[in-house]
Amino acid sequence: MKTLVQTIEELAGRLGRDVELMEVCGTHTMVAFRTGLRQLLPESVRLRSGPGCPVCVTDASYIDAAVELCRRPDVVVATFGDLLRVPGSESSLDRERAAGGSVRIVYSPSDALVLAKECPSKRVVFLGVGFETTAPTVAWSIWRAARDGVRNFSVLCAHKTMPRAMDALLRDQQVKIDGFLCPGHVSVITGAAVYRFIGERYKIPCVIAGFEAWDILKSINMLLTQILDGRAAVEIEYSRSVTEHGNAAAQRLIVEVFEPNDAIWRGIGTISGSGLAIRSKYSNFDATHAIGVKFGEAHVNPLCRCGDILRGISTPLDCRLFGCTCTPAHPIGPCMVSSEGTCAAYYKYEGRVAA
């Protein structure tokens, strides 16, 4: 029986040209590096990492706002641990915490809500960052806070949605993509149907991939087969979790609490309709209204190439900071901070630095 790798080699040979496949999920990026499967691919089949890590695409101005919040004596900032070390313009939540800032790591938005109930004298602000996978869990916490009348709970919302970002990438003349490995757990919520426009409008094949090395190799196999056949369909490799129309209860909760807005993607810019804002009926739970925090102008290192890396037009090896002044211990750009970031993955698993 032919192995998946042999089949990929055979398909790549029949294609006879280079293909760029982009994964838009930080967890896929990490699986691809950690398992070493990138090394198994023929040279002509290249895996590029897109803007699939929510931490990496969170704008520095958002971190600045969270930093300002945690310095207030009446506020406790509750966050997923991933955001802690992301640099803002001048500081990070990690640094603020060491200096006495009030920052609590939680596993779930529901834990942040419990924290608010337990600390009625404090205003608990949860940092709502993440794609469609995470958005319903945060929507639930807002809905529940409203239902239970928890007045000291709010969310600083920077949720983003993936299809609009993929659309923006495909409109970008600099970006070359022959196929998408679509995000598995985002798709559990959204369903496969949200990617249909990619085949219809751009003739680019999509495969929704699972998270085992086998799943990713199988998905690459399916993408190459589509390219060879001249098809541009949305196929589901991760069929044990993903359906055509997704999780209806989670989608209803997202629509109940959030509405689309224009969102800033760090290093990319504003993408129309790619974010989720808290609806006005829940404005008491929106930190920008409830507490009055404002987003200012962010300052980031001009040499940082995270924006180009997030669009898949550069790799970390093209960045002068990579591995020199920017390391996991002293990250400058968000792609080095997050455990799912492309720079962090290159640093840890490729063991190479820029020439």
């Binding site: 192995t3 998946l4 790798v5 999920c25 930080g26 967890t27 398992t35 070493g36 499967l37 198994l40 890590c53 929510p54 931490v55 997923f80 991933d82 596993y107 779930s108 938005p109 529901s110 834990d111 960052v129 993440g130 794609f131 996978t133 995470t134 319903p136 869990t137 639930w140 995000p183 598995g184 757990h185 985002v186 559990v188 919520i189 699972g210 085992e212 090395a213 086998w214 799943d215 190799l217 069929s239 044990r240 979790s241 999780n247 209860a249 989670a250 909760l253 997050s338 799912e340």
Partner: protein, 75 residues
């Protein structure tokens, strides 16, 4: 961040449940899945079950994990 782990429901308490992830127990919300039952395999993200697997899907993961030794793939 979109990490989700397979777990099994070992106790049900209305819209919350105790799940076991390879023996580690944790309370999660199960209001986003239909008809949660004891013994169900679920996919858990950030304290919420977001999908329920049927038996064949659980078996598929076990088979994939058994086969995902890349040395075997290369052999």
């Amino acid at each position: 961040m979109c990490l989700a782990v397979p777990a099994v429901i070992v106790e049900l308490h209305g819209t919350t449940a105790t799940i076991s992830v390879e023996g580690a127990l944790r309370e999660v919300d199960v209001s986003l899945i239909e008809d949660p039952r004891l013994g169900d395999f679920v996919l858990v993200h950030a304290g919420f079950a977001i999908h329920k697997w049927d038996k064949s899907e659980v078996e598929e993961l076990a088979a994939i994990r058994a086969a995902t030794d890349l040395r075997e793939v290369l052999a």
